[in-house]
Structures are given as structure tokens and as C-alpha cells.
Subunit: 356 residues, 4 copies
Amino acid sequence: MPSLAIHRLPMAHPGDLSALERLIADGRLCAGTVCAVIGKTEGNGGLNDFTRGFFTQSLMLLLGRSTGEDPAALAARIPCVLSGGTEGALSPHYMVFTVEPAETGETGLALGTAFSPPTTARDIGRASQIDAVEAAVRVAMAQAGIARVQDVALVQVKAPCAQAPDAAARSRDPRVLMALSRAAAAFGVGVALGDIASESATEDALLRDLSLYSDRASISSGIEVVCNEVIVFGRAKGWSAGLTIGVAPMRDLLDLEGVIAAFRSAGLAAAPSVPPAQRGRVLGVIAKGEPDTSGAIRGARHTMLGDTDLDAQRHLRGALGAIVAAVAGDGRVFVSGGAEHQGPPGGGLCCVFARN
Amino acid sequence: MPSLAIHRLPMAHPGDLSALERLIADGRLCAGTVCAVIGKTEGNGGLNDFTRGFFTQSLMLLLGRSTGEDPAALAARIPCVLSGGTEGALSPHYMVFTVEPAETGETGLALGTAFSPPTTARDIGRASQIDAVEAAVRVAMAQAGIARVQDVALVQVKAPCAQAPDAAARSRDPRVLMALSRAAAAFGVGVALGDIASESATEDALLRDLSLYSDRASISSGIEVVCNEVIVFGRAKGWSAGLTIGVAPMRDLLDLEGVIAAFRSAGLAAAPSVPPAQRGRVLGVIAKGEPDTSGAIRGARHTMLGDTDLDAQRHLRGALGAIVAAVAGDGRVFVSGGAEHQGPPGGGLCCVFARN
Amino acid sequence: MPSLAIHRLPMAHPGDLSALERLIADGRLCAGTVCAVIGKTEGNGGLNDFTRGFFTQSLMLLLGRSTGEDPAALAARIPCVLSGGTEGALSPHYMVFTVEPAETGETGLALGTAFSPPTTARDIGRASQIDAVEAAVRVAMAQAGIARVQDVALVQVKAPCAQAPDAAARSRDPRVLMALSRAAAAFGVGVALGDIASESATEDALLRDLSLYSDRASISSGIEVVCNEVIVFGRAKGWSAGLTIGVAPMRDLLDLEGVIAAFRSAGLAAAPSVPPAQRGRVLGVIAKGEPDTSGAIRGARHTMLGDTDLDAQRHLRGALGAIVAAVAGDGRVFVSGGAEHQGPPGGGLCCVFARN
Amino acid sequence: MPSLAIHRLPMAHPGDLSALERLIADGRLCAGTVCAVIGKTEGNGGLNDFTRGFFTQSLMLLLGRSTGEDPAALAARIPCVLSGGTEGALSPHYMVFTVEPAETGETGLALGTAFSPPTTARDIGRASQIDAVEAAVRVAMAQAGIARVQDVALVQVKAPCAQAPDAAARSRDPRVLMALSRAAAAFGVGVALGDIASESATEDALLRDLSLYSDRASISSGIEVVCNEVIVFGRAKGWSAGLTIGVAPMRDLLDLEGVIAAFRSAGLAAAPSVPPAQRGRVLGVIAKGEPDTSGAIRGARHTMLGDTDLDAQRHLRGALGAIVAAVAGDGRVFVSGGAEHQGPPGGGLCCVFARN
């Protein structure tokens, strides 16, 4: 079975795939082995963030040129999870996950992917989306060869959002619709992993019952995808042993200890920051969080939710990203706001990919 | 000689002084002893941030009612250093510094204040402003009874900016003018403290020769003041011994170790965050930083300087504030961007007031 | 009975009342005759716009100094309707309405004011707010001596919004709460004037049944007021005859003819813009509008509602304000977004005060 | 000689070329005849606006598929002038200009295009850029068959801007660099058309001597182009007679009469807005303007230049766009801010393409 590699690459702008192009040209990466991409572009991360679509189009063009496949077919097969917003210390970058066939008896970091059927505006935030994501998670687990839910470390989903107002949608407010899409996908992940009881995971509970969550779910939503694109990470037999993943929950936005725990669980001696000699072993960092909806963090009022000029998620990413980047010693962190049902209210998670 | 106390108080909005009003009403704080205020309001921190003026007006009204003095006279005597912008994890708050006469042979945290003469638009970023700030620092040191420059821990300045375009100003771009004002004030502090050689501190070197800096200078600029308002903190004989100040430089925005060092030098066991049992000893935190003008942090491109929608200083405060707040375990941090000549390029400083 | 005067004054910043101070000092305006103020400050017009509170505090301080009355008592008596946001061509300014007793048999522009009882977060967007505004409109009409609803030209209301999240509020989204407050106030005005049937004006219909509206209602909401502050304009006997008011509906945002009609109905020869010789006769301009919630204007998609970086109301004010200012030949226009139930969906109104 | 056609098409998002794709598929437009595209995308219009690059990439892909040519070769031949920012009433759209060979003895609307050599960061705002644009204008005029400068109606240029900081650039502030690029291109156009004397058009005069301008120049700058891309419109013999162009200057932002004059000079009975029956004859509208750098319009202070949260050009486009759209009765207007040397200070121009 297979061998996973992760390449973390810089971009000069959202349409710049030159770093990947060079790897392919140099024979250091075979375009046909790319099975997932997770990236952070410098858009605003909201409904009108087109940097994600620009990147995806550019990526699929490059892979199409390199493999001879149709870019549209590639886009329908390779999850491309992009989150806009590199506020503050964050740096635009993308992680390319490749899988090469290899016979091994080892147990190691495994990856599986799946696409749900297309989700229309009227399905967003409905039971049908929850079910579709749950099913896709199971397919991706099977592909990865992960049999037990406790062996899943993280499920990363890119969930769709409607581009145009649709009378049949659950909300006419696009911000709400994006949140509903993330929430439904989190429910789907939670049910598939047994973190949320199936009977609790109802439409009505979305964005309401904040006691329901999976702290192994990381969801972004955006208008540039039409399906729920799912990537499952975990441990499985038959995968080569060189890579590891560490995941830890964050209780709240200031949970520095939670961030450090994630790095340590990936085998890095963060004390508090990753020592320079170990920084090269970090292959990717993912963090999720959200502005505490109580309006306060540890009793002190925050102003993220009532700012007319600066979107709450931009506030959040700048803050969370800086804390994680300070521990990593590196601004190349995938930070995504909107952690509905993806951890305790006001909290989130941190996930680290590293070389052993 | 005197006894210094620091009260850190929340505000519900920029005109809300009710927390201070209650302290005065309860007899826990004597309005006549207030000698400086440093606060963080939830504006945008830019030229059109009027939350600072609103707070100052409200503060002086309250002190006027309590002391019988004219609010205008109070405003001309009590430095009120406000910085707008509580992005991300930050929380609006203000620190009230009071000094009560007391005979003591101890050595402790000392404070002195001074106002320069009014600085007009044409003087901003000129040699005259540098000289005026230098002189004010010396006056404030003398008031504090600090004889030696090495005993100064931090000089906090609120420097003026022109409200209306002025043909005689050094720049017509208000962002540049605000930066020039901070830079000139930093030069004034640096010369007074011996951190910058007098002959190097020329008009031409402002914003140009980035090798010139004082990492004991913390400068904000804004249209709500007309003078350079100066507060000097340090150690001096005759001040009561209960309070301490810790200051440490930050090499760059991700310098988590620098932040921790500041807390430790104030006697707190930050490891990496201040333990809950010690958080009550923290009386105030000040941090300065700036978006690295090279466009990268530790080699990774950042996007703070080219964002049309989100001002670079808002980016910066959200990131720096979160790192410092994560160590403090508390969002009540005074973070101010625009650290020109106030530390190494791309870096800054962190300062902690604490009870022993 | 009384004589009404309108003074339109510039401000250099939201705390600048110097133009009014000069009028009072010169004896050209008696502070005791001020009965309402309507103004446009340069904030963002949203929940975190504190320019309105700053202006109001500064105004009441000035009037308090001039009249010897307590500023708090003045604020509870004089409606001060401020709208933040001077995007594009707009210019910060305020209109001071004074009423002096005078015996006249003429019929002219009449003004009456009233305050509802305080409206808490839990009352916003509820039947109780609708009723309270309706009652206040009747009180204000009686004060103005306007007996018939058809003689009312415009009702301007400043409606409150909760500053802090409140579990009992109808919505936790502050944007929605501000909209609900405007909507409920519009219903109150509509019922009082007979433009909306009392039985249709239910809580449930707020923001839902867009066929219900009064095109004589102009509502702003904000956190700086705690009551619904109501100003009624119309024609009544006993008021001196020198001033006039022209009001016309706008069908949509591009309804240039509607804007021109308002100026013409105030006796000005707009063709299309007010000729320079007549511009001095214009004493004030009020416009309301809203981003068309269908997402298009005359079939062409607009992008106001899905912009993460620029609030829809800031988009709207910049556009509507420029059109009205181009006709007026003057940027001193009070433009307020959020025209829920204050005209046809996507439309609004324009109102002009002029000297005959 | 040739026959010019203009197709004005909507886009659902910046990568949506489906309207053009349909025209090509239906045989109503031959992809090989496309010679220029001018469009308005819904980005922020600033340095970090990637909607322009996304559109261009998508356009060239479509044209490449349709013609069999390499997209890169098409991009090097077909000027694609995009301006980001559809604030307020504006609607995202693009104009496709096609030229088909046809023998005619008529005189009509003529179009010519040219590309300068690549302009690096160090050349932006230098004499070399001025010269390069001047030369390109002459080439484009020759291509159009326009012999006399007085027969040129408008020159539209897309000028490059550096993407990354470059030590050799005239400014490190990307806003300034974008302005310098527009200014230099305007000088190049002005010199080529005889509107600016060659000896006055120096590097030093850029952004300084505002008395130098061409009110037939319309310049956008952006990082998505590397050359100065030039489109010249005018009247020439041998072009079919069905289309016309009307251009008129605007004295200031509120110059409603100037806008109306442009429509009238294109043969439309704007009174003040274009009557519904004539709206179908409008094929495209271009407007340029700028925030008055004096800080006031007709004596009333504006706030466009000092707003930390909302870029001055976004302010400007929302205001100017609404005025032009109100006259056109249609939000599909290409509005571009930054009118340095493209009209009198604080003013601009309006240009209308129409069917006779």
C-alpha cells in the first residue's frame, strides 16, 4: 500500500503555482500522484473571495498540462481545500499531498478522499447535506484503509456555498448560509466518527446546540466548490511510517497550551516554540477557531462580532494565526475561522503534520 | 515621595468611564491623584479614529466633576495616551495611574509626565518635534526623580497628527504624517535616553535609517492631541516598592520568547503563559510592533502591507495582540502598531506592569 | 405660535461644535430655542460607530454651558438624530432646528418632537416598540399642531439598538437587531400616519412583508440612544411661512427623477441640478435608501450584499449620497441606509428643506 | 477596412465567461475577431485585487479553446483592461470589442491597440514608461488608421504595477507606485495626443504638476499586467458607420451636467437620464474620477482621503459610479478611480459608446 508525501509550497499570488511547476519539472513530484491540496490564499475569506477559485483553476490547469487529463476531471477528483485570509503573521502557501503506491507492512499516516454529490443552495444546512458528508467520510476512510473511527485524526472538508441568492435556501444572508454549510458538514463528520450522536444531529440543532461538536472536524465553506470535498487523515496499516500527525483541541482563543500540545503530539519539542533545528520537520499546520459568541474571552470583552468594517472571521484568523505561528516559528499556517460544531464554543483545534 | 498605583479598568464603549466613576464614588481612588491614563479603545487606530477623542473628553469630564477643576485644564496636565484598535483577542480597557504623596526610603516604580508645546502640522516630523520630545522626556524624568537614563524602563508618548491637510506639512499623505510623528517622537526619546546619538537623529533619517532606534520608546500618534504627551516609567528612590515593570525587546513579530521574557522580568512565572494564580498580579501590558517592511517574516511572505481593505496596522495589532494576550492569558493588552525607530525593523517590545 | 429656523453647519470632526458655538456667541442663535438636531458624522454607520455618541455628548455639553441646563436633561428633551457614514461625495454636517415663539396667522413648516420610553434589547423589533413609536408620533404631531395625518411630510426617528449581546433579544446578530429596530419604528410611523394598517403591522411582518411601508418614514438606529427619538415635520397653521419641505419617493437606487422631484416640490428649479443661484436656499437634504435585496438593480447584478470587506450600508450611502449630492450641487446630504419599510423594496425617499 | 462591434456582457463572478462562451457557441461572435476587452470586476481595485487576473486567465482560456491559439499568445496580443471595484450601484460586466474586415468607404468609430515592452518595477513612474506609452499610442493610432490626434476620442490604458517590493522602485508604497504608473501612462497619452507638451512631461512633474493633463486619457493600473496595454478609440475613414463615441470632461465629482453632456454627444437624449427606449443603444460607459486632493468638493469637506477602513478609490468609485449609472439608468458602468493627469484635479471624464 501507499506512501504519503507532503510538500508545503509558497505562492507569490493566488494564481501562482510556479513552485509546484518547478517540482514537477525537476522530477521531484509526479503530477499524477497528487491526491489532495490544502491551501491558504490572501483573499478575505468571505463570500466574495475569488482567490480560492483562481488558485483552483490555476492548479488544475497545471496538473492538466502535466498529466494530460482534463482539468475539469481533475477538479472532480482531487479535493482542493482553500481558505482565504492571511491576516497578520500568516503567509500564503499550499500543501500538496501525494500518494505513491508502495508495498509496506508499516503503520503510518494515511489519507483518503471523497466527494459528495453536488449540494445546491436549497440543500445547504439541511439534513441532506449532513447525510451526504457522513457518507463521504465513510468512503474516504475506506479509501485510506482506516477501519476504526478512533484511528481518524482529522477530517478536513470544503463545503459549498451558494453564489447567488436562492429563494429556497435556508437563509438569505450569505454569512449565515456559509455558517450553516460548515455546521452541517461538521455534523456529518461528527456522526461518521461517533463524536456526535446521529439522532442529535438534526437540522434544527445546527448553530443552536453548541454542545454538539467533533474536535476532529475542520471545515471551510466557499462558493468555489459545488460538492462537499472530504479529506480524512488518520493512522492505518500498509502506509509508510515516516510521517505523523498531532491534533489537540483549543479551549479558547488564548489556549497557548493547546497549540503547544498539538506540536508536541506530533513529536516536536515546542518549548514554547518549535526550536529552529526542528522547524524543517514541520510539513503543515492547520488551525480552526471562532470568535467567542458570548462576546468575551476569559471575562474580557472582545470586539470581533460587532465591527462593521472588519469581518469577525478576519479578526479571528489574524489572532489565532499569530498564536499558532508564534509556536511554529513560521507564518505558514492554515487558519480557518468559523469553527461551528468543530470544538467547544469559542475554542477550536490545532493539527500538525511532521516528519518523524 | 510618592506611591504609585495602577488600576486597569474595562470600558463598555469608548465613552464609558463608569468603572472609574465607581472607584471614585466608593472612595477607592481619589480623582485628584490621577496623573496619567493609558488606554485601548475599539476604533480603527487610524486618522479617522475618533474613539480616542471621545474617551478623553469623557474622562476629563468625569475628573472635572470629581475634582472641581476645569476639564480643559486637566487635559493639559494629565497625559491620556490612547491607541485605537482592539483587533482579534484584544479587549478595550484603560490603565489609570495615580500618585499619592508618601514618605518612603524605598526604591520603586516611578512615573513622571510632561507636555511639549503644541506641535503644528508643519512641525510634525521635523527637527523641532524631535527636540521638543527630547526636552519633555528630560522634564518628565526630573519629575519622577530619575537621574540616570539607565533607570528609565519605558517612555510612552502620544504624539500629535494634523487633522486637516496643511500645505506646509512634510507629507500630504496622512498615514505618512502619522508615521513621521511617531518617528520624530521616537528620535526625541532615543536622544534623551542616549539610545540614539544626537547627531544621527536628523529629519532626513526619519523613516529612512532604520538602524536608529530606542527599544524603550513606545509611541502612538493621533489627531486628538496637539502636544507631545510624555510619560516616563523607571526606578527611582523615594517611590514605594510594591510595583515593578518588566520590558523586553521583540526581534520580530513571532518572537514568543521575547514576550515571555518581559513577563518574567516583571517577576511572573510565564511558562509559557502566566499561571492563573499569578494573573491578578498583572496590572497592565504594553506592546509595540510593526509589519516587517521587507514583506516577509523569517522568510515567509506576509500580506499586511499590500491589503487595500485592511489597514496594515490593524493586521499588526491583531497578530501581536494575540501573541501577547496568549502569554498573559488575558486580552487586556495595550498594543500599538507603528513601531518606527522603537525597536529593530519588524520587531518591537513588550512591557509588563505587575504587583510584586 | 412659533417660527422655525434651520441652520446647516459644518463639522471638522465628530466632536467639533465650533460652528454652533460661534452662532450662539454671536447672538445669531439662542441655545434655548434648539429643539432638534439631525446630523451626519464620518463614522461607519454601524454598531461600532461611536462618532454619533461623541457628537451628541459634545452638543449637549455646549448647549448645557449656554443654557445652564444639565446636559443629561437636554439629551432627554432634544432629539439628536445622527447617522454615521459620509462615504464618497458626502460631507459631515448637522442641521440645527430652532423654534421661537411668535404670533402668526400663517401656515408653514411645523415641527414637533417626542421621546418614547426607554426600549431595552428585549423590546427591539417587538410589538411594544411599534406601539411606542406610534404613540410618540402622535405626541409629536400634537406638539406641532398638525391635526391631520396627510399634513405630515416626514417623520424622522432615531431608534435604539442594544450595545451588548442580550439573550432575550430577537436576534443575536447586531446587524439584524439594528434592522429590526428600524423596521419596528417604520411600522410605528406607518400606523400613526395611516400608511400601514394597524392589523398588518405585526412583529412577524417585520423585515418579511416588504409590501408594508410608509414613504414618509426615515429611520436610523444606533447604540447611542436608549429611547425612540421622534421628529415630525409637516404643515400647520400658526407657523411662520418662510420655509418649505419637499418629499418624493425613489423607486430604486437609480431614480434620478425621484430625487429631482423632491427638490422641485421644495420650490427649486433642479434641471437637473439646483442652479448655483438657488443653492443657498437649500437648508437641508435627507435621503433614505437600501441595497436591493433581490441582488439586482433594473436587472443588473449589484455586489453590495455579499461584500465581506465593505458593509452593504456603506456601499449604499456612497451611491445614494452621490446621486442626491449631484442634484443638490452640494455634498451636505443626510443619507441613511437601511430603508426597511420606509419605501418600496430597493427604493427610498428624498426630502428637501428650503427657504421660499 | 473594418467593422467594429461591441458586446456588453454580464458576469456572475470574476471567472465567469459563460455569456461570451454562449455568444461564440451560438455563432454570434467569432472568437478570432476579439481585439480588446474592457471590464469591471468585483474586487477591491487595489494592489491585492486578484479578480482581474482571474478574469484574464479565464478569458484567454476560453479564447484559446475557441481559436486554437495559445492563451499566452492571446494575452500578449489582446489588451484586457480590467478595473476592480463595483461599489454601490455598479454591476460587474465586460465589453468585448471585435473587428471584422469589411470594405467600406464610410467614416466611423475606429479602434487600434498596442502593447509597450514589459515595464519593470524600476521603470514605473519613470521617463522610460512615459516614452513607452507615447510610442504605443502612436502604434495603436496607426493600426486604427487615425492620422490626426484631434480624431482620437479616448485612449484607454492598463498600466502595470510591481507585485513585490523592489528596492529600485520609485516608491516602496504600493499605492504610490500604482498612482505613479497611472500618471506616467497619462503623460505618455497626453504627449502623443498633443494635450501635454513633451518638455513638461517629466518624471518630476508626475503627481506634482496637476495642471498637466489629457482629458482623453483613461488609465488603470494593476499587478496583473506586465506591459502598458493601450487601446485607442477615435474616428477614421474606412470604418463602418454604425457606432459612435461621446466623451466629455467632468469638472468635479458632482458635475452631473458633464455626465449628461457625454451621453448627449453620443446621440442620446439624456434628460437627465437616458430614456428607457434609448437604453438599448448604449453599448458601454467609461468614467474616470478621483477624490479631490484639496479635501473638499465645492467647499464642503469630504472624508475620502483619511479613511483607514475604506480605501479612497473605493469611496470614489461608489460615488462617481452612481452618478453616471443614474444618468445611464443602468449600473453597467466602467468606473475607475485614480485620475491623475487624466482631467482637471478632482475632476475626470465620462465616455459613452452607442449605436447610432
